[in-house]
């Protein structure tokens, strides 16, 4: 067997493994002085990693390990997006990581986060359900540690327990579904399976189980019950990672597998997604209205955003895939900006996360308030910010395939979502407060992260080249 593919087609994973090893070694070797540069070192490594892997190795699909691992330029794009998201999370986590109670665990945070990223990369590139499962587990188990990172805090530990239990349950469901698939098709290779499925009852059930497993990761309704508690309890940096990078990877993988494996059963999964989308968007929006804690609020917002992402999946076209990747990218910029602001305020105000505490934030911290507002506008889909464009594209992709009523429901839901996003804007800009959050200066690292996000929010929509670049490599059901 030829293993040269490890260094050619698998360059992303190989390089990322190198980064993980380097981080681990640095954590071991660096002394008291060296640890002060740990953050800079990791960010530099990530930057080098992104710069080195962002250009596709070749424009044709290729297989490594006899089809277990599949290289495709569009996978490379998704992986780069996830890596950029991780870098921004690192930048924004620094304030939190420099606190006394977390500083000594700094290395663990980096290694665990990068391990989940590696798992997601394998999951995306899998060509076989075994590889997929390994990648998924590698992406979930370290995340549970991260969620419970502030383990001395009750709600962080609780969040970790909730997360690991639901992750295990969903993995179990998914493996059960995969075993049905193996039983009926006699193979676990994606490429072979596409020909073996005819849509009998057992296979439909297998698909539903498989979908339920990933829906837990995506926190789609009715598999969303863990989300709000976990998002609230986890450290903010981890929450943002969970809501953006983890979700983006799961959404893309779901679409990829639905297209590659389950394309003969398209009418079944379109019906299934139809119901799940309507439920996710509507239920999450209604719950989000009543939230007072900003992290819980963004948890419900992210559930409804996951529903919108599924609008791109339901189309099953290559254009839908482009819209999905673009949506994830734009969503990443906006959501990371929102969480970055939340994290900064949380660290500098002693954990003020209640919406009423944020009243009058604009008076004391205008730049952060404006950043938050732009992020929320982008999430709500207000032009000229990027979220408008990404929402338009997913609506167009679903509409093109004839889901007119679904798009109308989703569009009417954007009005509800605008309402609760405006509640936060109202708190920051309009409401008065006698004891507002005091003015403070964020550090350079957080600011860099926020500026990157803002650049994304402002430029991704107006400049069409990113979308065109993604579109050149996407694929869909034929």
């Amino acid at each position: 067997m030829d293993y040269s593919g490890i260094f050619t087609y698998m360059y992303t994973e190989t390089a990322l493994a190198g980064v993980i090893v380097a981080t681990l070694l640095y954590d071991l070797i660096a002394g008291r002085r060296g640890r002060r540069f740990f953050h800079g070192f990791v960010c530099f490594l990530m930057l080098a990693f992104i710069a080195g892997t962002i250009w596709p190795y070749s424009s044709a699909e290729a297989e490594v390990f006899g089809g277990m691992y599949v290289y495709n330029p569009v996978y490379g794009i998704v992986k780069s997006i996830l890596a950029i998201g991780t870098l921004i999370v690192f930048l924004q986590a620094d304030t939190w990581l420099r606190r006394e109670d977390t500083a000594f665990k700094r290395g663990e945070f980096y290694v665990l986060t990068l391990s989940t990223l590696l798992g997601m990369d394998f999951m995306i590139s899998s060509g076989h359900f075994l590889m997929f499962t390994i990648g998924l587990e590698l992406a979930s188990v370290p995340l549970a540690c991260l969620v419970a990172f502030d383990k001395y805090k009750g709600n962080s530990a609780e969040a970790g327990a909730k997360f690991i239990l639901s992750a295990l349950f969903s993995s179990g469901l998914m493996l059960y579904g995969i075993s049905f698939l193996y039983g009926t098709a006699g193979t676990l290779y994606f490429d072979d399976m596409g020909f073996m499925l005819e849509g009998n009852a057992l296979q439909v059930m297998a698909m539903v189980f498989f979908f339920a497993g990933l829906a837990f990761k995506l926190s789609l309704v009715p598999f969303h019950l863990w989300t709000a508690d976990t998002y609230q309890g986890a450290p903010t940096a981890v929450t943002s990672y969970l809501s953006v990078v983890s979700k983006g990877a799961a959404a893309f993988t779901l679409m990829m597998i639905l297209i590659k494996v389950f394309s003969p059963m398209i009418q079944y999964w379109q019906l299934m997604l139809y119901i799940v989308i309507v439920l996710s968007i509507t239920v999450a929006n209604i719950f989000a209205i009543r939230q007072k804690n900003l992290k819980r609020f963004l948890a419900f917002s992210s559930i409804s955003q996951a529903g919108y992402i599924m609008l791109a999946v339901i189309s099953g076209t290559s254009y839908g895939m482009t819209s999905l990747i673009f949506y994830v990218l734009v969503y990443m910029a906006a959501n990371l900006a929102a969480f970055g602001v939340i994290s900064a305020v949380e660290q500098h105000s002693g954990g003020k996360l209640d919406m009423d505490d944020w009243n009058g934030l604009y008076k004391t911290n205008p730049k952060l308030a404006v950043t938050m507002m732009l992020a929320l506008f982008s999430l709500a889909g207000i032009p000229p910010f990027a979220g408008f464009f990404s929402k338009f594209f997913i609506f167009a992709s679903a509409f093109e395939e004839g889901f007119h009523v679904l798009v109308l429901i989703a569009l009417l839901n954007t009005v509800i979502s605008l309402y609760y996003y405006l509640l936060v804007v109202k708190a920051m800009f309009i409401n008065r407060n006698d004891t507002p959050i005091a003015a403070f200066r964020t550090d350079a690292s957080t600011r860099t992260g926020l500026v990157l996000c803002l650049a994304g929010i402002l430029a991704l929509g107006i400049v069409s080249s990113v979308f065109d670049g993604i579109n050149a490599f996407s694929f869909g059901c034929l």
Binding site: Y319, V415, L418, K426, I430
Partner: protein, 494 residues
């Protein structure tokens, strides 16, 4: 660069200028420079446009240009203007210019206020120059969202409630527009989202048109204060700061009428013919109901807001008549209503700034105290009730003339009903003028008040000159408009 692209570009530069300006003086300098540039640009555009038409250029759109934006969906940035949009651009720049002076005394957060104001005008200008459905819709939404903060932060009264209500209702409308745009684009099988191209293909099947026409018409109609979707308008206008009321009632509500005509009726003509009766009834209700509501209000801004519902209803009423005369009248009414409602709101803002009340029960005898503002208020009122020589007369005369040309019973009856609004308007305007301007002043506090300052006089005089100009010499502009309306109407009817 296309001359039309300057219209959104100048407010963008103004925003940058405001961002770096440090004190009120610099802010004013940026605003005056930019607003004057816009005004000059739109006047130059009118002159150039008329010149090109006189040279015999008969293309539907002039000054066309653009580039491919999102190739996979055939989205282009396409601009071009015809007589209708030229008139609207002129109106917008006049309102932006006068709005700047009307908010001259804004000191609390002036920088942010004017930045949002500029963003609003980017949306407005961009909307009127766009030929591409996507770009048009994008600018439309750009114009909506600044309203939330402009009303919420700088407004008065129940500002938070009004701001939220306005934003959500208009966004609900824009959700309908968006799905309508997708329906039109995918239904027509066009290779671009260009309005002219989709119209010339003219191949959306009638059943589909019947689905999308009401959706798009209601979507734009929300902004055009179509009954029963007008409820955001009185609250929003009453709470908004002066310049925002001016821009919103003066220009933004015209986006609704313009969109109804340019998108809903022009692109879905067959359904427009079949279903117009539903909307004719609704708009006739708007016209009469708005006027009656204005009669019983006691807040100056509410009176004007309901009067706007009535007058904007007349715009939609006229375009639904689908003949050249009525539609030309509709565009004239947009101009006329834009100018006079802006004048009204400017004057109300100035009176409120002095008396700190807008309740007509507490105001009286203002003519003695502030003669300049009062005389201007009378002029605005007379324009509103359609006195010959002022713009309102020209517009309403043309509309009712055109509406009466449709010689079946249904159209005749609704026209007669809509005509009654003229009388009702006269009732509430004259009652209002008599109550607050004449008589003796009962509040001794008001006796100490002063008349308009130079910036206020400038804003008011510019608007009055435009109103009188439109009323005394309407032919050049109505000719320009009807030249562009004729081909559109013949497209809708065939």
């Amino acid at each position: 660069m296309n001359i039309l692209s300057l219209f959104p570009a100048i407010p963008l530069l103004m925003m940058l200028g405001l961002w770096i300006s440090k004190n009120l003086k610099q802010i004013h300098a940026v605003m005056v420079t930019g607003a004057s540039a816009l005004l000059a640009l739109s006047v130059a555009l009118v002159v150039l446009y008329l010149g090109m038409r006189a040279d015999g250029q008969i293309a539907a759109m002039l000054f066309t240009g653009g580039f491919t934006w999102y190739a996979p969906l055939n989205i282009r940035y396409d601009v071009g203007v015809d007589g209708i949009s030229v008139a609207m651009l002129l109106l917008s720049s006049v309102i932006v210019f006068t709005g700047t002076f009307a908010s001259w005394k804004m000191t609390d957060g002036a920088k942010e206020f004017f930045m949002w104001f500029c963003l609003l005008s980017i949306g407005v200008f961009g909307f009127f120059i766009s030929l591409d459905l996507f770009t048009m819709f994008m600018f439309y939404e750009v114009a909506l969202i600044p309203m939330y903060l402009l009303i919420g932060v700088w407004g008065t009264g129940r500002k938070e409630y009004s701001a939220m209500k306005l934003t959500l209702m208009l966004m609900g409308g824009s959700a309908l527009i968006l799905i309508g745009i997708l329906g039109i684009y995918f239904g027509s099988g066009a290779t671009t989202m260009n309005i002219i191209e989709i119209a010339s293909l003219h191949n959306i099947p009638l059943p589909l048109q019947k689905v999308w026409f009401p959706i798009v018409f209601i979507g734009f109609g929300v902004l055009g204060a179509l009954f029963p979707f007008h409820t955001w308008s009185p609250d929003g206008h009453a709470s908004a700061p002066t310049a925002v009321s001016m821009l919103h009632a003066g220009v933004l509500m015209k986006l609704g009428g313009y969109g109804c005509f340019r998108v809903a009726m022009f692109l879905l003509p067959d359904a427009a013919q079949e279903l117009s009766w539903i909307f004719i009834i609704l708009t006739a209700v708007s016209v009469v109901y708005g006027a009656f509501s204005a009669c019983v209000q006691t807040d100056l801004k509410y009176i004007n807001a309901y009067s706007s519902v009535s007058h904007c209803g007349l715009v939609l009423f006229a375009i639904l008549m689908m003949n050249t005369t009525a539609t030309t009248g509709a565009v004239l009414q947009m101009l006329s209503h834009g100018l006079m409602t802006a004048l009204f709101f400017a004057l109300i803002g100035m009176i409120y700034g002095r008396t700190h009340t807008r309740d007509i029960r507490e105001l009286s005898g203002l003519m003695r105290i502030m003669p300049f503002l009062s005389v201007c208020y009378v002029i605005a009122g007379l324009a509103n009730l359609g006195l010959p020589g002022l713009s309102g007369f020209v517009a309403e005369m043309t509309i009712f003339n055109g509406a009466f040309m449709e010689n079946d019973t249904f159209h005749r009856v609704v026209t007669v009903i809509a005509c009654t609004s003229i009388v009702i308007t006269a009732v509430y305007i004259l009652r209002l003028i008599g109550k607050i301007l004449y008589g003796t002043c009962t509040n001794p506090e008001h006796l100490k008040l002063t008349d308009a300052t130079w910036d206020e006089r400038l804003a008011v005089i510019v608007l009055i000159v435009c109103i009188a100009g439109l009323g005394l010499a309407p032919m050049w502009i109505s000719g320009m408009i009807s030249d562009s309306v004729v081909p559109m109407i013949s497209h809708i009817l065939n």
